[in-house]
């Protein structure tokens, strides 16, 4: 494959960013919008060509004897730290990066199109498109990274584009603080990522993914069994690297930024905070998967963090009022699902070769399907918000008659995420659960329960929005379906969500490049369908018609409900730590110390000098006679001393 197309995939969005960012002020909205959409459309086409070439051309560079190869299209030196550690910027084509190219460009294009309608009347429309392009550029650069440092570079860039887009409505204080929070929390996580990279590459002497992952045992050997505080250095490195992923993918306890990030425009939430950027953590683990495999402890860590997060987020999602927040927590929960799925996969599983990479494949599969249906749900939520001008479901209800397109597409999204066949979520979720059960039945059971919760809260949301009771405000302001720019992406994504499950994903994306056949695990599938259906039935019973059942539930468990509604007080804890302890105590103390101790000492030197000068200045009063007297005594004293000495 030539390097033109891959370079264009990266260059196109960056160029559009510069064009719209620098020249946007001079453009009309229409020109900016069309340019942005055309640019992204081109990128999408190019990405499709590249991905399809990779998967289906059968070129020897990409597949040898049925094993898909990792192919570095180009890899140019960017910065040489030392002779050994050289940062390169390159383009790695392998199953997951090709898949991500498709996911990112597709969703990004849909969002570009959708935003044309959604953001039409907003100020800074051109700026918005510029930022979207910056984000797409960064995300594409991240997934095609040939080395971990390139990934870190683009990792930071997606962070900042996320910051810019969350804070897009920069006049709203809430948006500003949400963007700040998102940036700082992920930045904190990136610190771990950086330390992890430092530690890992100190031993491996290379940043390159292929070098590290093609021979993970070698990485283990290179660390030479060094340990730190009871754990091997490699464990530390891999856990620290995963910390970066925890930040971006909003794993507990670094999840707090994601719900607030919903302050950004809804299409942005769909693109960044549902489909692409937040799965960067999953992608990172997948990228380093072979190395993670050799460090048992880090895999356990990933699994545990994922399992706890998945459950936590699902519980919280059941009590949120803001529809975007429900979706945000649902995203956290689903990403945690993928994490667990990756965490339970490893070499040498019982059940033979088939199972060792199943979790990996399933996680990636779910990443793909989730991106589609979650983007669909967010864009649907955007259409709802566009129609009723509120984020709260209390302002909605009974909307199915007014907004049929939104209703049906949203329903498809809900069915997909709930894991009902034949929608895409069912297939990916089934594979994930199978992998978990295969590792340990506890994980399987736990995650099946989370899947049930997922179905429950999604249908709670669905029924509360589209059924329940009609909001009286509709009489004044009749909600209606969104314009075509917004409906078209909904329909396309809904269609993808319906059929994506039938993609032979196992043939395409596996951890070692060897394809295998997905087959349904009947017991697992049946269990999860039954659980999901029960959950949906419960949701329907509680929320389909207006009734007092939800109120009774809330009354029955007031403490739990309030705690979950307040997201178990994580935000309060963080605010306490940052504002009270870091700002209030540490920073203030240091600032005080600086002014009143260090600076005062320096001033003190000056003051002492000044005081002494004042004290002795009387001696130089300008009175010549006094000088003479002093002089005379001095002379006499000297004479005496000389005399004594001479004696």
């Amino acid at each position: 494959m030539g390097i033109t197309l891959p370079i264009l995939i990266l260059a196109m969005p960056f160029f559009m960013f510069l064009l719209l960012g620098l020249g946007g002020v001079k453009m009309s909205r229409k020109v900016a919008g069309v340019l942005g959409i055309l640019g992204m459309g081109t990128t999408m086409t190019l990405a499709y060509i590249v991905a399809f070439t990779y998967f289906f051309s059968g070129d020897a560079a990409f597949i040898i004897d049925g094993v898909r190869q990792q192919f570095q299209v180009f890899d140019v030196t960017w910065l040489a730290f030392t002779e050994r550690l050289v940062v390169k910027i390159g383009f790695l084509l392998d199953p997951i990066s090709a898949m991500m190219l498709v996911v990112i460009t597709t969703i990004s294009f849909m969002v570009h199109l959708y935003s044309w309608g959604y953001m039409e009347s907003e100020r800074g429309f051109q700026r918005y498109y510029a930022f979207l392009n910056l984000f797409s550029f960064s995300m594409l650069g991240l997934v095609v990274a040939t080395n971990i440092f390139q990934m870190y570079i683009f990792w930071e860039l997606v962070g900042v584009s996320s910051f810019l887009l969350i804070g897009f409505f920069y006049r709203l204080p809430s948006a500003v603080s949400a963007s700040k929070k998102a940036f700082i929390v992920t930045r904190f996580a990136d610190l771990g990522f950086l330390l992890g990279i430092l530690t890992l590459t100190f031993f491996t002497d290379t940043f390159n993914f292929v070098d590290m992952t093609s021979n993970p045992m070698n990485v283990l050997a290179q660390t030479g069994g060094a340990t730190f505080m009871g754990a091997s250095v490699l464990t530390w490195a891999m856990v620290l690297i995963f910390t970066g992923g925890m930040g971006k993918s909003a794993m507990l306890p670094l999840h707090i930024w994601l719900p607030d990030a919903m302050e950004g425009p809804t299409p942005v939430s769909a693109l960044i905070h549902a489909a692409t950027m937040v799965v960067a953590g999953v992608y990172l683990v997948a990228r380093m998967f072979p190395v993670y495999c050799v460090v048992e402890a880090s895999m356990t860590f990933i699994t545990v963090v994922g399992a706890i997060t998945a459950f936590y987020a699902a519980v919280v999602a059941c009590t949120q009022i803001d529809i975007k927040r429900v979706l945000a927590f649902s995203t956290i929960s689903q990403i945690a699902f993928m994490m667990v799925s990756l965490g339970v996969a490893r070499d040498g599983m019982p059940g033979g070769e088939h199972y060792s990479g199943l979790g990996y494949m399933a996680g990636m599969f779910h990443l793909f399907t989730h991106a589609m249906f979650k983007a669909l749900l967010f864009l649907g939520a955007g259409a709802l918000i566009h129609a009723v001008h509120s984020n709260d479901y209390t302002k909605m209800g009974g909307l199915r008659k007014y907004m049929p397109i939104t209703h049906w597409t949203f329903l498809i999204g809900c069915l997909a995420i709930a894991g009902i066949p034949p929608f895409s979520g069912f297939f990916s979720k089934d594979e994930m659960l199978a992998a978990m059960f295969n590792n340990n039945w506890i994980w399987g059971a736990w995650m099946t329960m989370v899947a049930g919760l997922t179905a429950f809260y999604m249908f709670r949301l669905y029924f509360l929005i589209f059924w329940w009771e009609e909001n009286p405000n509709y009489k004044h302001h009749r909600p209606h379906d969104a314009p075509w720019q917004m409906s078209l992406p909904l329909i396309i994504l809904a269609a993808v969500s319906v059929v994506a499950g039938f993609i032979p994903f196992g043939e395409l994306v596996t951890w070692n490049g060897v394809s295998y056949h997905i087959h349904l695990e009947a017991p697992v599938a049946v269990t999860s369908i039954i659980v999901a259906l029960c959950a949906i039935a419960l949701a329907a019973k509680m929320y389909m018609r207006k009734n007092t059942l939800p109120e009774k539930f809330r009354k029955a468990m007031p403490g739990l409900w309030t705690a979950a509604h307040h997201r178990f007080y994580w935000d309060e804890l963080y605010i306490f730590i940052t504002h009270k302890i870091i700002f209030g105590i540490i920073c203030s103390a240091i600032a005080w110390f600086d002014r009143h101790v260090i600076d005062a000492t320096m001033d003190g030197f000056a003051k002492v000098t000044q005081k002494v000068s004042f004290a002795i200045r009387g001696l130089q009063g300008g009175n010549v006679q006094a000088y003479v007297l002093w002089y005379f005594f001095g002379a006499v004293a000297l004479a005496l001393i000389t005399w004594i000495c001479l004696l």
């Binding site: 009175n623 006679q625 005379f632």
Partner: protein
């Protein structure tokens, strides 16, 4: 010989001390100038004395004394000119009142 030199030196020292005392205690600038001259003259005297008693065959001390007297005269002239000018501007020759430059 030593006794001889003392007969000359003691008056010179007394004269010098009078000069110092006068310079330190008097407030009038003219009086201070007079005291200054006393000290100067006692120093001149010393030059002459030491020259006469220590190096009788040399004349440098005497010559030096003459120079010093000439310079002292010039210096006195300048000093008196300054004092007269001060008197003109502030109407006094008291040393304690010549503090305009301080403030």
């Amino acid at each position: 010989m030593n006794l001889d030199i003392l007969w000359y030196l003691v008056p010179s020292v007394i004269m010098f001390c009078c000069g110092v005392y006068g310079f330190v205690t008097r407030k009038n600038m003219i009086a201070m100038l007079v005291s200054l001259e006393l000290m100067l003259n006692s120093a001149d005297l010393n030059f002459a004395i030491f020259n006469r008693f220590l190096f009788p065959d040399k004349m440098e001390g005497m010559v030096f004394t003459l120079f010093a007297i000439a310079i002292a005269a010039a210096e006195t002239a300048v000093a008196i000119a300054i004092i007269i000018n001060i008197y003109r501007s502030i109407g006094s020759t008291e040393i304690v009142e010549t503090n305009k430059m301080k403030h």
